[in-house]
């Protein structure tokens, strides 16, 4: 192509881009494709899909706006970014709903097609914001994306409505050009996705190419941007979302234990994708049962575990509430069961598509009686894989239900992942009992289902079909060893304490602390999906000279054995959470440490700058820094490249999922 002007290529180390439009505009798909292009280019990245629970809210309204944010960089990053550098708004509502997040100076690429007086009025604009000057602080690129899309696909003879539906691909093409993304994978994707609808396939590909070429030939853009691939540890990488990683981790865990996997589940946001993914994996000895309700889902899983499979159930908070009684039964039966809680904003139905981590106390204590069970939490999308493998190890080794905590942000977010070598994952022996394990007073061989391994306290597990070992178990209190019904006071006390001791005694790795020179006085301790924002906040504080240590809990029950000692080492412990201080409550109760809780429950991940300010202020206060000229919190929060370049000694950045 002949261009009249030379396009400058500007180097950037990181970009945050947000696609926003109507729920029906295909913004999630557009974001997914841009992510795939970016991943295959080799940038580090982190994503944040954000969409309403309504499938198709009325078009053009604020509640119907769906968005997808992607942060990509030439270095190791930890979060999807606090604020977009570029916003692509497909209609006035998308502009209005997202503008408050966009800092001045950022670029707004706006589809002007829907900026009619009627549409504007509907969302509360009396005048067209493109004409009033109210966007002057931004770099505004108004384009009739819909009109150009329709024009670009006219040869396919589609209705205007159908033709305009390809506008997301037009926009994707344009942005792919702007950031020099490789486009082959998107064209292949469109060819496969619409293979059975040639008109739609060709129109989408044509629109995508037209958008790319528009960037190349039009003179709207004088600059293209380049974000070089990130330096990461050597290996094979792929991009993966939390729910997919969780599904694969469950299959890997079952396979390493040599057990078939039986999932019982009922659809619920944001957990349903785990059911969808596992239902495709029948060739891996995965059976999925879409049950009539949440209770039946966990019931079927527990029934399968009784039969010698690995029973798994997946849900979100409201479903976990319904499953509580069955989980209590699993505690009593002492059978393996993996329960995944993909948390969402509560209470009750809450905000189904928004994230939160307020189910911690529910999963710890939400059962009648003393019913302890292990709890593990994932810290990033890719980390859901390792968390599921670990949950399976604990469930099978200790014959216990295990809670896996993820959340909506991890479930739908994605990041590059260094693909693990399956053969290197630990194996677990279910160690089924096949012979009598004791003798009775007459000297005859018998099977005692509640005879325990002295080290793990795991009970003997004989499955139906094993000759001579038939036995009955149930929810009634059992006599030690025999498992017979017992109302004996001393026996009940013993069994309660034994079940507790079994969970308390689970071996978990020690907590690792990132304290660069070992002199920090403030520790920031988190769990779950706050890992990224906390890490980014700590980097910002360190960058402005503050000393801070960071640690993150995978194991919430039992806690790592060294946790008490770690907490005691620091003058102040800050615990940021997306709840009102649930981990803080547990730490105070168990370790008598006066932790500082930072609690935000907005349905969105914590922001890095926000945390930097909180951490910086606490460091300043704790260190006794009394300098009017130097405010750590403010300085850390206002850093523009706060997450950049946490250079490891060897100069290699570790992708976050690999930790």
């Amino acid at each position: 192509m002949n261009r009249k002007v030379t396009i400058e290529v500007k180097q950037l180390d990181r970009v945050v881009i947000r696609f926003a439009g109507d729920s029906g505009d295909g913004m999630q798909l557009t974001g997914d494709r841009f992510t795939a292009e970016t991943a295959s280019f080799g940038n580090d990245l982190s994503t944040l899909p954000n969409f309403p629970a309504e499938i198709r809210a009325p078009a053009g309204t604020l509640p119907g706006v769906s968005s997808f944010q992607l942060h990509f960089a030439d270095h190791d990053i930890l979060t999807p970014g606090d604020a977009p550098d570029v916003l692509i708004a497909m209609n006035p509502a998308a502009l209005k709903a997202n503008l408050r997040d966009v800092p001045r100076g950022a670029t707004l690429i706006i589809d002007t097609a829907d900026f009619t007086a009627r549409n504007l009025k509907r969302i509360g604009y009396d005048e067209n914001p493109l004409e009033t000057g109210e966007l002057e602080a931004y770099h505004v690129v108004p384009l009739n994306l819909t009109g150009m899309t329709v024009e670009s696909v006219k040869e396919f003879g589609l209705s205007r409505k159908d033709a305009s539906r390809a506008k997301n691909m037009y926009a994707l093409g344009l942005v792919s050009w702007l950031f020099q993304r490789p486009v082959e994978s998107t064209i292949e994707f469109l060819q496969t996705k619409f293979a059975s609808k040639p008109d739609i396939r060709d129109a989408n590909i044509a629109a995508f190419r037209a958008g790319y070429n528009f960037g190349e030939t039009a003179e709207e853009f004088s600059v293209r941007y380049e974000v070089k691939p990130a330096r990461m540890a050597t290996g094979t990488y792929r991009n993966i979302s939390g729910n997919l990683a969780l599904a694969y981790g469950l299959v890997a865990g079952a396979q390493r234990a040599g057990l078939p996997l039986v999932l019982g589940a009922y659809p619920i946001t944001p957990a349903s994708d785990v059911l969808h993914e596992l239902s495709k994996l029948k060739r891996f000895d995965v059976t999925t049962i879409q049950a009539e309700d949440e209770i039946a889902g966990v019931g079927a899983a527990l029934g399968a575990s009784f039969g010698g499979a690995l029973g798994v159930t997946t849900s979100s908070g409201p479903g976990i509430s319904l499953k509580s009684e069955t989980i209590g039964l699993a505690v009593m039966l002492e059978l393996p069961l993996v329960v995944c809680d993909i948390q969402r904003a509560g209470p009750s139905t809450g905000m189904p598509t928004k994230t939160e981590q307020a189910d911690l106390l529910q999963v710890m204590f939400g059962r009648n009686g003393e019913a302890p069970l292990p709890v593990v939490a994932a810290q990033s999308p890719a980390d859901c894989f390792a968390t599921a493998v670990e949950a399976t190890r604990i469930a099978v080794t200790y014959r216990t239900p295990v809670m896996v905590l993820s959340d909506g942000y991890l479930a739908n977010g994605s990041e590059p992942w260094k693909v693990p070598v399956i053969e290197d994952l630990p194996t677990v022996d279910p160690n089924f009992t096949t012979e009598p394990n004791a003798t009775n007073d007459k000297g005859e061989p018998v099977y005692l289902p509640y005879l325990r391994d002295p080290e793990t306290l795991a009970r003997a597990w004989a499955i139906p079909g094993t000759a001579g070992l038939d036995h009955r178990i149930g929810g009634l209190e059992k006599e030690d060893k025999t498992g017979n019904i017992s109302y004996e006071p001393a026996n009940h006390d013993l069994m309660i304490r034994t079940r507790q001791a079994k969970i308390d005694g689970i071996t978990v790795p020690p907590l690792e602390v990132d304290d660069p020179d070992g002199t920090a006085k403030v520790l920031v301790l988190g769990w779950g999906s706050t890992y990224g924002p906390i890490g980014a906040g700590c980097r910002r504080v360190r960058k402005v000279g503050g000393k801070v240590a960071q640690a993150h809990l995978r194991h919430l029950n039992p806690f790592p054995a060294n946790l008490g000692e770690v907490l005691a080492r620091y003058d102040k412990v800050l615990v940021p959470e997306m709840n009102l201080g649930q981990l803080a409550l547990l730490l105070r109760a168990k370790y008598l440490v006066d932790v500082v809780s930072y609690a935000q429950v907005r349905g969105m991940p914590l922001g890095a700058a926000e945390l930097a300010e909180v951490i910086g202020n606490l460091v300043e206060e704790t260190e006794g820094i009394d300098d009017d000229a130097r405010h750590l919190g403010e300085a850390a929060a206002s850093l523009t490249h706060g997450e950049a370049l946490n250079v490891q000694p060897n100069g290699v950045h570790h992708p976050e999922g690999a930790r």
Binding site: A39, Y237, G299, G303, G307, N484
Partner: protein, 359 residues
């Protein structure tokens, strides 16, 4: 969304896939070492004795029998049988048994439940299990009362029943369990009585042989909280006129000297008439066909049951039709996936198609 031809297989028997016993078994082998703790005179004793006597004749390995129960008096059943068993939680036995049956085709899985367990707290699981046709045998002990919680009305208690929780009489309209099961399109539905061991055993036998969910309602007397609820069926003076016997291929005729019979009566209904009053005599009677595909016929039969105090009700197999069992279909899909896609390679799955390498 689209539908797929599942290539439905012809049905094997209910015990297909369950390993056969190598030696003849005795009733005693099925009696566990646990002391039976039902109230003296409870109908559960008779059912337990019949069941323990019946199991050996199935000729399957004892360790391949699994009993799953919920909560209630009847749900203590598994403790008294020397088979594998789980005494689970209230109402959930069908869901738990579904997971067990799906993952273990080599087991004969039985669910023991009661009117409260199955029809009140567990109603949802019951209807969905019946709709799916999981290869389970469900024994519903119906005593029309809550026994274990000491005497509240149940979802099968007659309207007006005075109990501890209904001093002025229950205002609830009761379920007819057989009608409910048929409404869920259960493939095997039967009713029997605790005290008639021969009939009970014959129904259990037919249930065991059925592929899919077999639903058996057992009228069971609670001597403490609802004594004589089924007296009409047990009293020699009334029982001949009370029991409407269902025998496949036979005209439905009963009563002292066979003076009563069942005839078609208007749109999709059946009625009991004096045979002597029928213009065609016995030729006008309905000949029972349990294999009728349309559940409307069996449903009409089920409506001959009194909703209030029981004076008359059909006993026997209402419906026995073939439909593929859920668990067979689920396993078939897993097998098909292995055949058509090959057994999965986890490393290549996890790696995926879209990767890049950092050197």
């Amino acid at each position: 969304m689209s539908t797929v031809d599942l290539g439905l297989p012809s049905l094997p028997g209910g015990l297909h896939g369950v390993p056969a016993a190598t030696e003849p078994q005795t009733r005693k082998e099925y009696v566990s070492d646990q002391e039976v703790r039902w109230c003296p005179g409870c109908g559960d004793y008779a059912v337990l004795a019949a069941f323990q006597g019946f199991l050996p004749e199935l000729g399957i390995k004892r360790e391949n029998v699994a009993m799953v129960s919920g909560i209630g008096c009847s749900s203590r059943f598994p403790y008294y049988l020397s088979t594998y068993g789980m005494h689970s939680i209230h109402g959930r036995a069908p869901a738990i048994a579904t997971g067990l049956a799906v993952s273990r085709p080599d087991l004969s899985v039985w669910v023991v439940t009661g009117d409260g367990d199955a029809l009140s707290i567990g109603g949802n699981h019951l209807i969905h299990t019946l709709r799916r046709n999981v290869n389970l045998k469900i024994l519903l002990f119906n005593n029309r009362i809550y026994g274990l919680t000491k005497g509240q009305y149940s979802p099968t208690s007659e309207t007006g029943k005075v109990t501890k929780s209904t001093p002025m009489g229950s205002v609830d309209n009761p379920f007819n369990p057989v009608s409910l099961a048929l409404g869920a399109e259960a493939t095997f539905v039967a009713r029997t009585v605790d005290s008639d061991r021969k009939h009970l055993t014959s129904v259990l036998r037919a249930a065991a042989e059925h592929r899919g969910t077999a639903f058996v309602e057992i009228y069971q007397n609670c001597p403490i909280f609802n004594d004589n609820a089924f007296d009409a069926f047990k009293n020699p003076e009334t029982r001949d006129d009370a029991i409407i016997p269902l025998v496949h291929g036979e005209p439905i005729r009963f009563g002292t000297d066979g003076h009563l019979g069942v005839v078609r009566d208007g749109f999709a209904s059946l009625a009991v008439r004096e045979v002597a009053d029928l213009p065609g005599g016995e030729a006008d009677l309905v000949v029972h066909d349990a294999h009728t595909e349309d559940p409307a016929y069996a449903f009409a039969l089920s409506r001959l049951t009194d909703a209030g105090i029981l004076h008359q009700a059909p006993i026997g197999v209402f419906r026995s039709v073939e439909r593929p069992a859920y668990d067979d279909l689920v396993r078939q899909q897993v097998a098909t996936a292995h055949e058509t896609q090959g057994t999965g390679d986890l490393q290549s799955l996890v790696t995926g198609a879209d990767t890049w390498t950092v050197d």
